[in-house]
Subunit: 459 residues, 2 copies
């Protein structure tokens, strides 16, 4: 980096705001994809004007710039380019307002998801996006990936739960998008365009989020099935009746077997698939809602339908589901974790196809995820030290993506594209749409300094 | 129009698909703004390839092109440019799929909103956007304006209820955006960018819509208040508690007086404001929900809280609200009807400000609308034959918009911008955002043939 650029960055963020020693910068060069790249500098911004100043310096010197929350993403979208600068939002983490009557919160991007939830809960509200990493991921990251979680089936993703943004373009210009209200149709929808763009269009410096009232009560059910077909039929039946669950999670046989190795699941023998179902609402309604959803969950393949009676039982039921990710880390040296989506009615066909691909390529595949959205986390378990297995896995993964597209699905429901899926997205995206996306990118970031190489393959 | 262009258009849409006689074209040159402009030709498209062919002809000859559903818009957005061509979607009105397990419908843009609702209802579903004009407006128009209605307070607008689109750009290229599923984060969100763009970016040729299960039951309440402050306080209290109503409509004193002249309202004497409140949900829950919402609606200014006991009483309660638009047409030769939005907690301040402006400019202002969204229909009643009054109204309207922006609101919640508000949107929109919108427009429509002059003021 030219000394003038380093000095200008230091001037932009003030004393103590810039790291340039490689040893200091190293921890800011990775994310949960386990990819890593050393940035030339890390700039800790504390307000929007600093963000704009940093971007202007990088733009003037054509230095690639990658925004970073707390690095929990799984696709490499926060891994910097070689020679790039990381803008860390960890010191820009204030909750600026919680406004119950207007059902909104105003936050800086570095706010941790759980911290917002706690602040909103004091007023009887929550922000629906609830990634598994909520305790350690930031709102800025949630917006960058349009990250969601189990509650999305009822309450939507960040795109449905964000009213407006403040952001900085690739030329360092500050802009304001959207509204403070739950309706607004003046101008084009730049808010949702920026959400999910993985820091390639603009850096969010402030977000106005739509809050939802906390439900009074919740009921948790666990349904076990003989096979995936019965479970998938139950999912379709549940989604075709009036009560929308606030979580509808599933695990396939391989996932159940995996957890069994590490903990007492308490699921009946012969379980080939499992659903976790939650309903929420007014206290005097959730029992009836649980009954209705339970009725839809019943079919010939149901083995057992368990309703949690109290908090301990809820925790016990969720233990199975939550034991899964750690179990996977123990079982295989590496998991290739994809979060594809297929239409709900095609989940069974998809899982059948995955079993076929697993046998064909001799790769263990474990599946779980947000069944109500058709959002399936497909995990290929592999040993990176076995080049033959890694080669088979690559071919298998490619076939998985083809199957998803063939079934009318999408390659990512909530993890985003980043580097991991970048070279596959042209299988899904329309070529005219992709050209327009690249053209839009050039309007926001004419010199291509904002997180280059992420999200879309080179033209 | 050059003969070559006319012939190419006729070739594109086939025999019987093109009108060029001014007498035939005249009825396709207006919308509900009462603006009118004679198009040179009207092309009736029947499939996406025809749409693309028509756009290519217009692009080659630089002929402005305006899409048209059934002309119910109120902002002039479907009024063609002088010398322009109207593309009518009235013959492209097939419902292609209703898919309950995947909770989606696939429709052509000319489908009438009510027809979709009926088809979805057979499967136990509905599409939430419900403009007052649902019986005569098209889905394509709903998407063009992001038009909503009373249900938006609980169920959202088209942007929250559309999964994907097929569309044609200003160069006649066909593209596909979005997904078939309720989650998807691959590529930038072109779906929401096109929604609300009033036919200036692309012409929608097919939409995949997210369906919602029909609630089992509904309860309707009418609350009358001594003054707008009490009613506004009730709205804020209702929105700050857990039950979200599926309609939360309001009328101010002037609106109530207006209706009184034409029908027996049955509202108590001294009523200064009125709320219509609906809750929906499972049959065994709606009474409790109505009680909770009713409790939030109670305050010192409440005069009467009436709960409808049956269908007739529901109809009677809604009669007041529905009598309003026709009454306004009777009372004044012209109403300047704006659908501004302010944060819910600022409704009372806003109505106070309107009363002040009404007195200051000697213009009658009648207000009603979707209070739960802060979406207030502000009606300035004027006589177009009185130039002095029209001049005062123009000054007053400008002050209304300034007040909206000052209160953190937006100039339009669901009607859109079109021609009517075009020259005011720079008061609300950020200048950098507006430049980006214009730049995006150029990527979709480099020659500026798609509905030129609508939505954004000239640079």
């Amino acid at each position: 980096m030219p000394e003038a650029a380093r000095q200008a960055l230091a001037d932009a963020v003030g004393a103590g705001g810039l790291l340039t020693d490689p040893a200091d910068c190293w921890p800011y060069g990775y994310d949960n994809s386990r990819r890593q790249c050393l940035p030339q500098a890390v700039a800790f911004v504390t307000d929007a004007e600093q963000v704009a100043a940093v971007v202007r310096v990088c733009n003037a010197h054509r230095i690639p710039l990658t925004a970073r929350g707390l690095g929990t993403g799984t696709t490499g979208a926060t891994v910097p380019e070689p020679g790039g600068v990381v803008v860390s939002f960890e010191r820009m983490s204030r909750i600026l307002a919680i406004d119950p009557a207007n059902r909104l919160a105003v936050v800086e991007p570095g706010v941790v998801n759980d911290d917002l939830q706690r602040a909103a809960a004091e007023h009887g509200f929550f922000w629906p996006p609830d990634p598994t990493s909520a305790a350690v991921c930031t709102i800025g990251g949630n917006l960058a990936y349009n990250a969601a979680g189990p509650k999305a089936v009822k309450y939507g993703t960040p795109r449905e739960n964000t009213l407006g943004l403040e952001a900085v373009t690739g030329t360092g210009e500050r802009l304001r998008t959207g509204v403070m209200t739950s309706k607004g149709v003046v101008g084009y929808d730049l808010t949702r365009l920026i959400i999910g763009s993985e820091g390639t269009l603009a850096l969010v410096t402030r977000a106005t989020l739509k809050l939802t009232p906390l439900p009074e009560a919740k009921r948790t059910l666990r349904a076990t099935y003989r096979d995936i077909h019965s479970a998938a039929a139950a999912v379709a039946a549940i989604m075709a009746q009036p009560i929308t669950p606030c979580a509808l999670e599933f695990m396939d046989a391989a996932a159940i077997d995996m957890v069994r190795r590490f903990s007492d699941l308490g699921v009946p023998d012969g379980t080939g698939a499992l659903l976790m179902i939650e309903v929420d609402g007014p206290a005097d309604c959730v029992d009836a809602a649980a009954e209705d959803v339970g009725a839809a969950a019943r079919n010939d393949g149901l083995i057992e339908l368990a309703v949690a009676a109290d908090k301990d039982e809820i925790a016990a039921l969720w233990r199975t589901r939550k034991a899964l990710s750690p179990a996977l880390r123990h079982v295989a040296p590496k998991k290739i974790n994809e979060d594809v989506v297929v239409p709900v009615a095609r989940i069974a066909t998809f899982i059948d196809g995955l079993e076929h691909l697993s046998r064909e390529h001799a790769i263990t595949i474990v599946n779980f995820g947000h069944a109500g959205n058709g959002n399936i986390h497909v995990n290929l378990l592999v040993n990176p030290d076995d080049p033959d297995e890694m080669a088979r896995a690559a071919v298998c993964l490619s076939a998985v993506f083809d199957l998803v597209v063939e079934l009318g699905g999408t390659l990512s429901g909530e993890h985003g594209v980043g580097l991991e899926k970048r070279d596959f997205v042209d299988r899904e995206l329309d070529p005219v749409a992709m050209d327009l996306m690249r053209a839009i990118k050039r309007q926001f970031d004419p010199n291509g300094i904002l997180n280059p190489g992420k999200g879309l393959p080179p033209a």
